[in-house]
Subunit: 188 residues, 2 copies
């Protein structure tokens, strides 16, 4: 029952429609229970994916954030400023500093002071860092592809469309009540 319990744990954590209904009914709110279910399921999925992602990257001695930093470096000729990395990854500069610290310690990137602007210290993908990316690519991408393997091509397009719109809607959580979501999303 030990191992079994862990699996059950994940599955039981999936929010149900009856649960959503019950919560709404309790306060006599005029809310669509399925909408709440969508929100709850997306949160659960996001948390699950985040956790799985850390496990995935830990096999290569990386974390999700450190992999994303390396990949972004590779995508930019192997050299970027910390501020650019922060923007690309959608994290703060403070977080980038921490990611670089560990990657540098492990020899996957190095720091170089700029002569143009004494405040800047650009980050460089080392040969070892490039090798790491090369080595993990086949397994990494195969697993990502397998993850969406239960969806066919058309379904993937639909999913991207719907996910994009829900993602826009996330601002409803943080913005002013009753305001329309803003920001645009393209598939290119």
């Amino acid at each position: 029952m030990n191992n079994n319990n862990k699996v059950t744990n994940d599955i039981d954590a999936i929010p149900s429609l009856v649960q959503s209904k019950r919560q709404i009914d309790r306060y006599n709110l005029d809310i669509d229970a399925q909408a709440i279910l969508v929100a709850s399921r997306l949160m659960a999925a996001g948390a699950k994916l985040g956790h799985a992602s850390e496990i995935h990257f830990s096999r290569f001695g990386l974390s999700t954030g450190r992999y994303r930093l390396l990949a972004d470096l590779e995508d930019n000729e192997g050299e970027e400023l910390p501020s650019q990395l922060a923007e690309h990854l959608g994290v703060t500069r403070a977080t980038v500093t921490g990611l670089i610290d560990i990657l540098e310690r492990d020899g996957l990137v190095s720091r170089r002071s700029s002569s143009d602007d004494g405040r800047q210290r650009s980050v460089i993908l080392t040969e070892e860092g490039a090798k790491k990316l090369r080595q993990m690519a086949p397994e990494h991408f195969a697993r990502l592809e397998a993850m969406v393997g239960l969806l066919n091509i058309d379904e993937r397009s639909v999913f991207l469309d719907l996910l994009g719109r829900v993602t826009q809607g996330i601002s409803a959580l943080t913005g002013e009540l009753g305001s329309k979501p803003k920001g645009n999303i393209s598939n290119e």
Copy 2:
């Protein structure tokens, strides 16, 4: 350019299809770029939602985890064991202990030793905790509903179906290479 920068940050962080293509092409892998895009977008959405959720609940003096614990208590007649809570929330018992500590400090729950089993200490939703849930319900659910407001009823069903299948696929990240995803998901 200060405030503007923060908004741009989020938007730029959205992964693009060309980016996925470039990464796959670099290593001559036989992988569907759109599949990688789906995976990347879902990760980005999950992270964004997680962050927004914390901001949302902080308005009520709660965190996402602490709210979920209160809501689960309310859904179970206001009394549960920490181990049950851990299972329902999909977190470890250690995490539940930490959540309870703060909720108890704030007077929203209390702990009671069981006479049945001396190891158990059940958690009770206090009147103040119930009041907190009552007070936040209208705004909380209205915001959740608004979040999926860009999807009509049919689209919500489709999204739930597709999200469910992708969620099943997440095990491809953690499981053995080439193994089929397992576990079932119902909409009830």
